[in-house]
Symmetry: C2
Subunit: 208 residues, 2 copies
DNA sequence: GTTCACGCCGAACGCTCGTTCGACACCCGG
DNA sequence: CCGGGTGTCGAACGAGCGTTCGGCGTGAAC
């Protein structure tokens, strides 16, 4: 149906506008009246497309996560070398993040705003996404020798490196996403100066 | 005055309770009535200690940042070796984070909730804290050879590794903060498997 | 014994919130 | 020409919000 198509396109535009406002002001600070103003629809008109403000946030998060998952699976498909698989994973994540900054900030920053069924469904995608990365890390260890640190720490730390960028990265600035992605990859795999950190250099840890 | 002391102690307790609730539910979802219930004071009684909800958040953030700054300066004072200075910086950050999880989550997650004078004052501390880390990284490069990546990327990426922990780390779990801190230090300096990432391993970056 | 600042409170104010409801144009199949 | 689904809207509802205000008890100061 052409109507169905037009309807979906309007919903997409609405979600995009909402993601922009949520990213700038935050989910709970943003009122439905703000969204109406920003998207050019009346307040009550919004409720023709979504059942509630919660569902609006859910749709943004769920669709973004689905997209980044699909994009990631395509990016690593057929790639055998574990290190290259990792590089593809990182690059896909940052590339998608940089080109969908609003949605990804909402996904990262407002992860605690959902509850119930909505939360479960997004968390299921999150778990799958995390599992893929952990499997890649296991493969990297198998081919490149024992890791220097616990795999769980490495996983969440890498996500921290990547997801934190909504706090400082400007996709329109002078720092290209290619350089960023390559830097994160190098940093994670080889470290800042490639230094094997001995015990002796950290003699008084947690002393202060 | 003893009264002044008692007053300050009550304010501290109030801020601590507020930080706990803000960390769990988020700043904007939390009502002053929630805080009154949680801290055992009446709704209007809160306003004897703080001028507004904004100021409450500001006091939590500003005091926490001041504490982590002071603690960091003490931790790196007198330490000459740049790599060890970095290790102390990281360890102090994570140690303070883990032992003040609520306050630090509020500081990290609700950084956009302030505005005006309040925001400026917290941001000033943030800039100073960042500058110290960047200076340490410059020293590390001077003594340990050229860095593998841009220093600004390295700085914000390291903050991402450290600040993201409020999303997954449980200080009461089986993962000690000593291990965490050492892992982040190793990961940042030497990488996951100590691999010098060549260009050839990432031939199709941003292709997918 | 009176005074007065301190610590705290119940009640209320004005406002904004998410959501609902009834209605009105429009267009397409009959 | 007509009936019904589609898309949109203004107006309103009840609830909850941050904040204020006047007052009350208490204990130290004089």
């Amino acid at each position: 149906m052409a109507q169905q198509l037009a309807h979906d396109e309007k919903l997409d535009a609405l979600l995009a506008a909402a993601a922009r406002v949520f990213a700038k002001r935050g989910y709970h600070e943003t009122s439905m009246r703000d969204l109406a103003r920003e998207s050019g629809v009346s307040l009550s008109g919004l409720y023709y497309y979504v059942k509630s403000k919660d569902e609006l946030l859910f749709l943004i998060q769920d669709r973004s996560f689905a997209a980044v998952l699909a994009s990631m699976e395509e990016a690593i498909a057929g790639v055998e070398n574990p290190v290259e698989r990792l590089a593809r994973f990182i690059d896909n994540h940052l590339d998608y993040f940089a080109s969908h900054m609003a949605e990804m900030k909402v996904l990262s920053h407002e992860s605690g705003a959902l509850s119930g069924q909505f939360l479960s469904q997004v968390n299921a995608k999150k778990r799958e996404y995390t599992r893929v990365l952990m499997d890649i890390l296991a493969d990297v260890e198998r081919t490149n020798g024992a890791a220097h640190v616990n795999r769980r720490i490495a996983t969440y730390t890498l996500f921290g490196m990547m997801n934190w960028i909504y706090n400082w990265y400007d996709p329109l600035g002078d720092l290209s996403v290619e350089v960023l992605s390559q830097s994160v990859c190098r940093l994670f795999l080889g470290g800042y100066v490639g230094l094997p950190v001995s015990e002796s250099v950290m003699p008084h840890m947690t002393a202060g």
